[in-house]
Amino acid sequence: MTRGRFLFVLACIGALVAAVETLRSPDVSAAVVAASMLATTLRFATPLTLGALAGMFCERSGVANIAIEGMMLSAAFGAFIVAAMTRSLAAGVVAGMVVGATMALLHAWLSVTLRVDQIVSGTVINIMAAGVTGFLSTEVVRRKAIEGAGLLPAWRVPVLSDLPVVGPIFQQQPIAWATLALVIGAHFVLFRTVWGLRVRAVGELPRAAHAAGISVQQTRYAAVMVGGAIAGIGGAYFTLEAVPVFEPMMTNGRGFIALAALIFGGWTPAGAWVASLLFAAANALHINAQQFGIPVPSQIVGMFPYVLTIVILAGAIGRVTPPAAVGQPYVPD
């Protein structure tokens, strides 16, 4: 992410916080509002960041991924049901990763092996995820009255989380903390490891990678599935960290906003994270506006993240060059 973009994001987040500040009812303190905005922003950024990282591994290898939404939704369901059955939240998270990776395997098989148009393949996964999880949630979960296993408990940073006002920022749940680690880890993997170099090569100029003795297909399968597993963690967020139930279509477009964050962030982990924070802040505005009694219709405020997505995807804030081979199936020779 370029400096200019980074400053743009900071300015936007600042403006959103300032908006809540000016409109808050006089009986809440400014510091409490700011801390609450930041804490919610960090929390809401979790699924977006994970979705964007998922898309990043996929697209950096040259496979377009509009199926983040579907991968997260099916993982949200998988995580919920496994956690409910085993009564183990950790098993639920693992199940989310497995389901995400499995959906990614389907995406890879369709688009890498069968060379189906990658947008079509992604659409297939999105529709299938919506249909299958919707069906299972009414026919199995509701009919059998399956109870969720609860939520992952917050991990508190000692001392900092006990501070007044800013304390809530340092009380996040495990997936939110893991996300921060994953941003750093993804950066290292993509830009410092052998595998990362190969993924990027395959996504930029697959002929060159093939000529260098690298298997384009294997590399793409691996990258897409790593992405799918990360999307799976993002899915688990919805049912194990946000709310303890599964509802049809509960990802609610977050996968597409994650895609926007990926693009706006220039296909880099840090960029994707910062861009996710922006979208999350727009979302946090909605919640905090209600909480602090801001006199703007909540429908208007709720629109904000989606409007921002459209503006950014339309290239209003300048364009970033995507990986050169994105969307192109590789046909050797």
């Binding site: 410092r192 170099l197 060159a208 990678a209 050169a324």
Partner: protein, 556 residues
Amino acid sequence: MSPIESHERTTTPNDLRQSARSAPIPSGTRGTGDPTFLLEARHLTKRYGPVIANRDVSFAVRPGEIVALLGENGAGKSTLMNVLYGMTVPDAGELAIDGKVVRLRSPRDALARGIGMVHQHFMLVPPFTVAENVALGNEPSRRGAIDIATVEARVASLASRFGIDVDPRAIVRDLSVGQQQRVEIVKALDRGARVLILDEPTAVLTPQEAEGLFRVLRGLAADGTAIVFISHKLGEVLSLAHRIVVMRRGAVVGEVLPEDATAESLAAMMVGREVMLRVDKSPSTPTEDRIVVRDLRVAGDHGGVAVDGVSFAVRAGEIVGIAGVQGNGQTELVEAISGLRPTAGGTLSLVGVEAHGLDVRARSMAGLAHVPEDRQRHGLVLPFSVADNLVLNRYHLPPLAQRGVRQARAIVAVARDLVARFDIRTPSPEVPVQALSGGNKQKVIIARELSHGLRALVAAQPTRGVDVGSIEFIHRSLVDARDAGAAVLVVSAELDELLSIADRILVMYRGRIVGEVPGSEATREGIGLFMAGGGGATQGSPPAGFAREDDVHYVN
């Protein structure tokens, strides 16, 4: 025909190997006296559907030897190279390295056995550094991270050992084409290549850059590397190779030593008949201005200025050539003249009419013909029939259309006439044009453009990827158009083409015209200097025979 046949030994592969062995070991190389081949292909056959790309091809190279593989487009050179490099698995035949039969299933196998390749389209990842590109596929790592410093050191040491100028930390995207090619060579050497295969390596180089490449290759050969050099350029093959293997229609048709060959004899082997390498033409007798460009500026695809204040005129009855390395604004200039791309400044007049605001069809109706650079995209509608493609510039006019209804019979009649006059090899005018060979596709375009009220012609890369026989015909057609009174502007990356047909040659470099020379006085070296921007650097004193663009427009 007899001079050709003396060169064209129609041999069995067995004879061929013997003749290769009996050919003298080139002097000045190490490994003299070693009779074994480093790399040997035996009886290779590769089919793509009904097309036989390689038919019983046998071929070999010794350590320290530079073998040129000469042939036209479609002769099967690239297929053979892909087989040698493991990118294509042959249907029959075998490969031997150091006399031992090997099976190459992928480039990885080839690399592991010391075979390196420099592809025609470079296999370099543009956003990566030189070192990252060299490392790709063979990356040293320490504690999980790539150890790029080691690769940088290796690149620097190879570069200094072979006198190759390359910075390991440079981003490939920022390098010139010539530098990128050196990165490719370093990449192959870094993998321990003992055989280096180069596919049309000079296609993208200035003559000076090509000379630099040859120096590097001679140095490598002297060091014991075997070099296989693929080309269709006769001159460079004669000057560089120790041995020349000629392919035609998928088969090896002969093998000669450069001292026994001439450009004419090699061309005849490539084509299978005698060809005219020089076009017979009388001195030009130019009359009035037909294409006048003044201070023209045109934007490039990614912003920036592609054509930066160009002025020249092309008169009726002359052929003006524009030389230059690809990517110096020639494409944008041609598109601006033909109306495909808007101009950003300056004036352009065609056949006496100010062209600003005229669309492509208006320009075409005014008598401007255009042979586009990319014939697949801009020259032809590939799924349409040959006949429909032949009338793309007049299908809406009577008698081909009456009150908006196509007259199929009239169209086919025009098409049959053009097919005959321009010697287009097609089963019938009704077949889709995409079924034709490259040369015949180009003839379809030439026939269409030259046969309809021609007053001025802009031809971009008119013979790119076209067989020698068609090149001869196309050149003849361009000269005939000139003699019939048309103004002809030819843009070409092939210097030899311009030297043989142009009456004047302008050289483009970074969007400007940096030199002009009459065709009769032009030399490869002089033009090459301008192509590399050398003319622009020597302010005030252009080499003899050249006039600066600002001084004169007509030198002849």
